[in-house]
């Protein structure tokens, strides 16, 4: 087992997953001294009946909840200030975010405001600038989340925040909330999860505790994503994927974003593609590149990717190639299960080849982990052609 000379790991997230998990919410809020929660969700999730499930879960609890079901895809500071007023005037004392992405960003940023003042928000943009615990934040994820929701990160407008105090206190994963959306959203979300978990598991900040979260996330995705894409009625598979998102988010909070994350984001932003799709394409190409670099732990990746039997029967010197081969096979399986919707190369994703140099330069410029533009370009060119 890999044991680093020194490491840090912090995860304050309590997870409550499984049948009727939502009904535990009143009890859990009570343990956090919260009596009047403010629920934030999107119109889309409200239309799908998810708010009704929340209301039903609070029956017989004596708890009054406030529901705001208008969180937009791109929230701004104006919305946060309006929500702050509603929260304060309604006498609420905790937040429940139902959904993924922007809804959770809204809840996290609002939590900074309601735990202090709205003026605080801009002051706390950056890394580890929040120095005190915030109000109780509960996350009820759906299948559209990526795990970013459980992490220490949040963003709004052009401001980015990173603090362990932004992590939710409780994540409630209930099968009734995990409604299948579409193949692209589901696959992209889980590919973000897989990328984060693999980069934590193989990266320089690898440690035994982040390994356990990353291991669970990788196994869940490898065992369930293709089957859920083939059969969206696979409820157990959907539940496993949301658990994977949550575990990967907790692991990701204890690691610096890796090259696949940064390059995937850069390609997605430049070409209006989903980050998950781009990260999924790039991941095996980046791992191939990292096998020759110091500080990465690729051979052990075979264990979560393929399980004990394959790991045990593969000779030590072949473990790296086997692991990377499994990721390429996984891309192929996803491509076939999604009938071509989840492509395997940047070319098939319609990324213009002439943009690669610019993307590589921008991604390398934002990197704090030391990969340069030439290496990025090389990886992008390989991923553009595909395997």
């Amino acid at each position: 087992m890999f044991s680093p000379d020194r490491y840090e790991f912090f995860c304050p997230v309590k997870t409550n997953s499984g049948s009727r998990a939502l009904e535990h919410l009143p009890f859990e809020l009570d343990t956090m001294n919260a009596t009047k929660p403010f629920v934030i969700t999107s119109q889309k999730d409200a239309r799908r009946g998810l708010v009704d499930v929340i209301i039903d879960a609070f029956k017989d609890s004596g708890v009054t909840i406030g529901i705001f079901d208008g969180a937009p895809a791109a929230p701004g500071m104006k919305l946060i200030k309006e929500l702050f007023t509603m929260y304060r005037d309604g006498g609420y004392d905790s937040l429940i975010a139902v959904g993924g992405g922007a809804v959770v960003d809204t809840a996290k940023i609002l939590n900074i405001a309601v735990s202090g003042a709205p003026e605080d928000i801009e002051r706390y943009a950056g890394s580890d600038l929040i120095t005190k615990p915030l109000k109780p934040l509960v996350l009820v994820p759906t299948l559209s989340g990526t795990g970013y929701e459980s992490s220490r990160y949040a963003c709004i407008d052009t401001l980015s925040f990173s603090s362990c105090f932004l992590m939710p206190h409780l994540v409630v994963i209930d099968p009734r909330m995990i409604v299948f959306e579409d193949v692209e959203t589901t696959a992209a979300a889980s590919l973000v999860t897989l990328t984060h978990a693999v980069e934590v598991y193989t990266g320089p900040e690898k440690n035994p505790l982040s390994d356990s979260y990353a291991y669970a996330a990788i196994r869940f995705v490898m065992e369930n994503l293709v089957s859920v894409i083939r059969d969206p009625r696979d409820g157990k598979g959907r539940l496993a994927l949301v658990n994977a998102h949550n575990a990967a988010g907790c692991a990701f909070s204890n690691s610096t974003p890796g090259m696949a994350h940064r390059l995937g984001k850069a390609v997605g932003d430049a070409c209006q593609l989903s980050w998950g799709l781009c990260m999924g394409i790039l991941l095996p190409h980046i791992l191939e590149r990292q096998t020759s670099e110091d500080g990465y732990h690729i051979p052990g990746l075979l264990l979560p990717l393929a399980g004990f039997d394959v790991y045990a029967e593969t000779p030590e010197h072949m473990k790296v190639q086997k692991a990377i081969g499994i990721l390429y096979d996984f891309q192929r399986d996803l491509f076939e299960a999604s009938r071509g919707a989840i492509v395997r190369s940047l070319k098939d994703a319609e990324v213009p080849e002439e943009m690669l140099r610019d993307i590589a330069r921008k991604a390398a410029g934002r990197s704090s982990t030391g990969f340069d533009a030439d290496v990025s370009l090389m990886v992008l060119e390989q991923a553009w052609k595909g395997k």
């Binding site: 409550n16 499984g18 009727r20 009904e23 535990h24 009143p26 009890f27 009570d30 403010f38 119109q43 209301i55 609070f58 029956k59 017989d60 609890s61 004596g62 708890v63 009054t64 909840i65 406030g66 529901i67 705001f68 079901d69 208008g70 969180a71 919305l79 309006e82 509603m86 309604g90």
Partner: protein
């Protein structure tokens, strides 16, 4: 920009009534089984004098209060907690968890493993209470259902099971 709406928690009256009736019947059955079954008698004998426990659903009931009276007899003491001192309170976290237990979809052991119960009192006493509940469920339920409700279905002689069942039912219905 949307608006906020406040929703007061509603009621699940039917489910609550069902759990209340089951608890009432279970309470009387524990009293009956304490007279009929040697293991239940032994479990109670090992508990402190005037020991009383309350099985309840959070946040505000229903309750099932059972305990030993001054003479050491086991009595079902009703659902009203007013003025009653309890040594042990086993709290089911919510009504849905109680429904899972009292429709025998989840055994007490499984509910504990799934963190659906809170114990307010000494854990050894709570274990004794759970063992008592298991024995009583074996008397009250046919094997096919009782197997879902208890941790391990016991190997009892037919005499103990069937004659005991008749006496437990009779005493429960008559309140003896």
């Amino acid at each position: 920009m949307g608006t906020i709406r406040e929703v007061k928690s509603g009621k699940k009256s039917l489910k609550k009534d069902y759990v209340a009736i089951m608890m009432w019947f279970m309470g009387r059955a524990i009293q009956a089984a304490a007279s009929v079954d040697r293991d239940v008698r032994k479990e109670f004998a090992e508990l402190p004098d005037r020991f009383t426990f309350d099985l309840c659903v959070m946040p505000d009931g229903p309750h099932m209060i059972v305990g030993k009276d001054r003479k050491g007899y086991v009595r079902y003491m009703g659902w009203d907690t007013e003025g009653k001192r309890t040594n042990l309170r086993i709290k089911i976290k919510n009504l849905e968890a109680a429904i899972l237990m009292f429709t025998f979809q989840e055994s007490t052991a499984l509910a504990t493993a799934r963190n659906r119960l809170v114990v307010d009192g000494e854990v050894p006493h709570a274990c004794a209470a759970v063992r008592i509940l298991d024995i009583v469920e074996v008397y009250l339920l046919p094997k096919i259902i009782a197997k879902l409700a208890v941790k391990r279905y016991p190997l009892w002689s037919p005499g103990r099971k069937y004659i005991g069942r008749v006496f437990v039912y009779l005493r429960t219905v008559l309140g003896l």
